[in-house]
């Protein structure tokens, strides 16, 4: 049984990165992506589907550990990039 903490993906990823309640966090992320995983496993038989889900769980955990939570721009940076891009677009035309 998965206890949903209703935390966002950000907090859940943070937990995984810090190894804090990692198993619960990854199970919650998996359950968030359940519909998508289902579309991938429904063409397979039950056992193979379970295998795929298991492997996806491992892979997602590994991937989230690698994920850089600081990479995203903040609002100021985002607006700056956006304006910069718009200017570039203008000069191209």
């Amino acid at each position: 049984m998965i206890i949903m903490t209703n935390l966002g993906l950000y907090e859940l990823t943070y937990k995984i990165k810090k190894d804090k309640e990692k198993d619960d966090a990854i199970m919650e992320i998996i359950s968030l992506f359940e519909p998508k995983i289902k579309t991938k496993t429904k063409t397979l038989d039950v056992h193979t589907g379970e295998d795929l889900k298991q492997e996806l769980t491992i892979e997602i955990t590994k991937a989230l550990k690698r994920f850089d939570l600081e990479r995203a721009p903040n609002l100021t940076e985002y607006m700056k990039n956006k304006q910069h891009k718009e200017k570039e677009g203008d000069s191209c035309e």
Binding site: Y10, K40, E55, L56, Y78
Partner: protein
Amino acid sequence: MQSQMTYILDSDFDNITDPILRSFLNTKSNYELFIRAKKHPCGENISKLNRAFKKHYTEIQLISYISQLINHYSRDFYRKKSREKYFYVYAFENEYILDNKNFNQQLENNTQEVESLIEISSLLEAIQDQTIYETLIRLTDRQLLIINLHFVHQLSHTEIAEKLKVSQQSISKTIKKILNKLRDSMETGGN
């Protein structure tokens, strides 16, 4: 830097077309932060807004990151499985094949080419009608082999397909084509 901030803070919610910004402001708490920063654009409010946006942006990145991972990993997984299936069948058969049989199989593989030539000629030898013979020798080796297997060796379409590692439909189509050709040639040759 300040100008970009004022640009966004001055703009009305309805005027914002950027999808990321809109989805950011659709969350109530974010919208409140936005309104607060608009009213009192002090350092603290703006940094709170910045932090909230960063978190929002990261979540979007995470969603696309994880969905892509699921897509790519599943695709690789399917490929791996279909490859394994192929190998397993092979391994399964091998377990039951004794050394002796294995040797025979190898021999069979090696002589397959020679055998196919013999098979072709056996059909050609059996033909006495000049018109049909002329049509037959104009067919490709593959076509000859297929009709030979079907009519002389009496293999079914499916069996031939297995032997040549192609689909049954392809064999049926080929045979139909050849028969049509032969029929045509007999009609024109007879006239």
